[in-house]
């Protein structure tokens, strides 16, 4: 029975560590991944290096959306690699179970560091190839597995777990992925619980997401300067054009009710993805086009998502809602010709939204905070006086705008 213990220990170790230390990292792999039963998807994959492992990796990653699937798939894959390697080493007359455990744990670490499952799948395929080749060698005697072997295997699994759980870059990825996932769900309490001021100080990409959550909770005026806000760019990401800023802008614009700009940001986000598209972008496009009343495009994304294996319920829900809803009538050329154009200046953009009748409490708070960060105290006071209801408490950082401005130029940035 002892010979079954190393694979069991490995499976449980990988499952638990992946669940506790990399839960959202793998959810992000699904969000940024794509697997479609379509000609263009396969043509794109076959034009890329390692197409078979790429396709298999994408196929597996689509299930990472569901609880425990990623953990089970990763643990099963690593354990499978161990068993294949164990078979190879036995044919090579190496009977110790801890020997194949070394490359299996190494593979686990490779999978943990990967941004897609592709490399891991490739290595498992290599293990399978070696196992097939090893069948050409004479059959060995039955292997023995002592307690020392089991202990060494457990030690190796623990070492792998330590690397994955404690490595700073993996920790950072997990925190960012966890925050982004909470943003996609609109779980603002969770965003604030993960993206604490201390973590934002260590990783500036979290700050805009934390401020977005504060805005949604109506707490910007009370807590903005608890976070490491140096200026507008920390607030709006307006000077950046990377994946994280496109993600942020997507959800900021959506929360502000500016769906045209949310779609714009989604296409920018798609351009940063491996396939030029991802499940997250496809789902959000479907949601945003549905909200915009553009049912023809929403139906297109329904058709596209229905070519994956995991979106049946999601697609059916939207098709039902569209069948019961009413598509919007396109604007006349005359109306289009005078539509306000988005501004690159975040403050002007917010004013335009208000002027266009797209109101949201978060937009007013963001305007006030932007004025604070720009040092435009007179404009701040004018706007604040116009929106503040008599008798309502004045948020902490709106009480004395000038002192806040000096605080933003002080080190360290976190005020207690």
């Amino acid at each position: 029975m002892k010979r079954f213990l190393p694979p069991v220990i490995l499976f449980l170790g990988v499952f638990l560590v992946t669940l506790l230390a990399q839960k959202y990292t793998f959810v992000a792999q699904e969000q940024n991944g794509l697997f479609l039963l379509s000609r263009d998807y396969f043509a794109g994959r076959f034009a890329s290096p390692l197409p078979v492992s790429g396709i298999l990796g994408d196929f597996l990653a689509q299930f990472f959306r569901f609880s425990f699937y990623a953990q089970a798939i990763v643990a099963a894959g690593v354990t499978l690699a161990f068993l294949l390697l164990q078979g190879v080493f036995r044919r090579l007359r190496v009977r110790w179970a801890w020997v194949p455990m070394v490359p299996a744990v190494a593979l686990w670490i490779v999978v943990a560091f990967g941004h897609t499952p592709q490399r891991g799948v490739f290595l498992i395929l290599v293990c399978a190839g070696l196992w097939l080749l090893s069948r050409l060698l004479p059959s060995p005697e039955k292997g023995k597995c002592g307690w020392v072997d089991v202990a060494l295997c457990a030690l190796l699994v623990a070492a792998g777990a330590g690397v994955i759980a404690l490595h700073p870059s993996l920790r950072r990825r997990e925190i960012v992925a966890g925050t982004q996932y909470a943003v996609t769900l609109g779980n603002w309490d969770r965003v604030l619980a993960v993206a604490t001021p201390e973590r934002c100080a260590a990783d500036e990409t979290l700050t805009p997401l934390a401020l977005l959550a504060l805005g949604e909770k109506g707490m910007l005026g009370d807590r903005i300067f608890d976070y490491p806000v140096r200026g507008e760019n920390d607030f709006d990401c307006c000077d950046r054009s990377d994946e994280e800023s496109a993600f942020f802008r997507t959800f900021l614009d959506e929360r502000l009710g500016s769906y045209n700009e949310a779609v714009h940001a989604l296409y920018q986000l798609a351009a940063t993805q491996e396939h030029g598209m991802s499940f997250l972008v496809l789902r959000q496009l479907l949601i945003d086009y549905y909200r915009l009343g553009d049912y023809a495009l929403a139906e297109k994304y329904c058709a596209v998502l229905s070519r994956s294996l995991c979106h049946g319920q999601f697609v059916r829900r939207f098709r039902r809602e569209m069948a019961a809803g009413k598509a919007r009538t396109p604007d006349t050329p005359a109306a289009r010709g005078v539509a306000p154009l988005a501004s690159r200046d975040p403050l002007h953009h917010l004013y335009l939204l208000e002027a266009a009748g797209i109101h949201s409490p978060a937009a007013v708070d963001r305007m006030l905070c932007t004025l604070l960060l720009r040092g435009e105290t007179e404009a701040f006071r004018t706007l604040f006086d116009s929106v503040h209801k008599a008798g309502a408490p004045v948020p902490r950082y709106y009480q004395n705008p000038r002192s806040n401005l000096s605080a933003t130029s002080r080190e360290p940035y976190i005020k207690n």
Binding site: D40, D294, E299, R336
Partner: protein, 432 residues
């Protein structure tokens, strides 16, 4: 008779009506030798069909049934007319994500009409991710081509047989970049518009992107001397000139022109481009440009000439009709001066870029009629008398491909042969 499917135990009820299929190929005219039309039932039912040819007409008899059902419907056969008028065997186009500022992958592709094969001519991956656009083959000659490569180290790439040559037009003559090209029928000159283009994004309403020029002019590039010249009536601050197109004899350049305005973004709804023409003899423009069409309600773009017929895109305003839902194709008889909206080609959604086959009997044009966003290619037969046949969607091996493809077709141009792939030579050109 070709049997495309059979269901032996299913009982079919015969109906007199025509089937509702996607793409709609009922009553279209196709060129002889084109890849077979593939389609599906609009309502998702499973279909099988048989095709029978009688003279120059194909009759498609369609049967449809629910999956698993033993009852189905047999529809009245619908005709597809086969024309013996020659069509160029390839269409070259750009595939790109349909919008906004960034892209992940784009390229120029060539589709063989006799099959479903699509070949990569140039991919942005070949040039380190840069933008490739505005490809053109002089007279449809597959051995010669030009395209622009944007980004660091970019410029205009000219291909002549196996020879590739990169030139930054902004370094010669008036130091202006080329944008929309028109290759002279002789092959020696290329008229370019030089546009300062900007995208803006409407905050509200159904239009999500607007594109306009802050200024634009026409420049003339001589491929023999690699020099650029200008012609005063088409160059300067008074007007914005764009979309050059040569007459088949090379004696006239057609283009679009609008008065220069301050604050183009704010006044975009008031900018309408007129259609103009200027004579070209002995390698130089001569005389004053003539205004052929000017309207308070129509802005002209993409004039394309075949014989006495000039096809153009008309929109309510502006210079980038692909984002204008009202954009339609119009046909002008250059001899009579008559203009008509080509309703047999147009839809409720955008019709935009178009190109004539070298024989002048077929056109390919882009339309967003399927979903309002993803541009697809449609072909139509021209009778030479000013009338087009019902347009049909470029057939694909799997009709769902038209829905599932997440890229738009851009700038379709007929080509007289296989342009081959440039991947290796252009990679080495940009690796230098």
């Amino acid at each position: 008779m070709l049997l495309a499917g059979s269901c032996a135990r299913v009982k079919y009820e015969t109906r007199a009506e025509l089937p509702e299929i996607f793409p709609d190929y009922v009553g279209v005219t196709v060129p002889e030798g084109m890849a077979p039309l593939t389609f599906r039932m609009k309502d998702g039912r499973k279909l099988s069909y048989a095709v029978e040819r009688k003279g120059d007409t194909l009759f498609y008899r369609v049967r449809a049934r629910e999956r698993g059902s033993r009852r189905g419907t047999e529809y009245a056969p619908f005709p597809v007319y086969v024309s013996r008028d020659a069509i160029d065997p390839f269409i070259a186009y750009r595939l790109i994500e349909p919008g906004y500022q960034s892209w992940s992958d784009m390229g120029i592709y060539a589709r063989e009409l006799a099959s479903y094969r699509e070949k990569t001519v140039v991919s942005s991956k070949d040039i380190g991710g840069g933008c490739v656009n505005c490809h053109q083959f002089p007279g449809g000659d597959p051995s010669r081509m030009m395209l622009h490569v944007r980004g660091t180290g970019g410029g205009t790439v000219f291909r002549d047989g196996e020879d590739l040559h990169l030139l930054n037009l902004a370094t010669v003559g008036p130091q202006r970049q080329g944008t929309y090209p028109a290759w002279h029928p002789s092959g020696r000159w290329i008229a370019f518009s030089s546009n300062s283009t900007q995208q803006s994004f409407p905050l509200t309403g159904s239009q999500q992107v607007e594109v306009y020029d802050h200024f634009s002019d026409i420049i003339l590039f001589d491929t023999q001397t690699e020099s650029v010249s200008t012609y005063e009536p088409m160059f300067g601050d008074a007007a914005m000139e764009t979309f050059p197109a040569w007459s088949p004899d090379g004696g006239t350049l057609y283009y679009c022109s609008a008065p220069q305005v301050e604050d183009v973004a704010g006044n975009r709804a008031d900018i309408r481009y007129a259609l103009k023409a200027v004579r070209f003899t002995a390698g130089a423009f001569t005389g004053e440009p003539q205004t052929l069409l000017e309207s308070d309600t129509l802005s002209v773009s993409f004039p394309r000439v075949s014989g006495k017929w000039l096809l153009f895109t008309g929109s309510a305003y502006g210079t980038f009709p692909i984002w204008h839902r009202e954009a339609d194709l119009y046909l002008m008889d250059l001899e009579a001066g008559a203009v008509r909206r080509v309703d047999e080609l147009n839809s409720a959604d955008t019709e935009s870029y178009h190109s004539w086959s070298s024989g002048g009997r077929w056109i390919v044009f882009s339309s967003r009629r399927i979903d309002g966003r993803f541009t697809r290619l449609y072909l139509s037969h021209f009778d030479g008398e000013g009338h087009f046949s019902k347009p049909f969607l470029l057939p694909q091996k799997d009709p769902s491909h038209n829905t599932l493809r997440l890229k738009s077709y851009n700038v379709p141009e007929f080509v007289k042969g296989d342009p081959g792939t440039w991947s290796k030579p252009i990679s080495s050109l940009f690796a230098r």
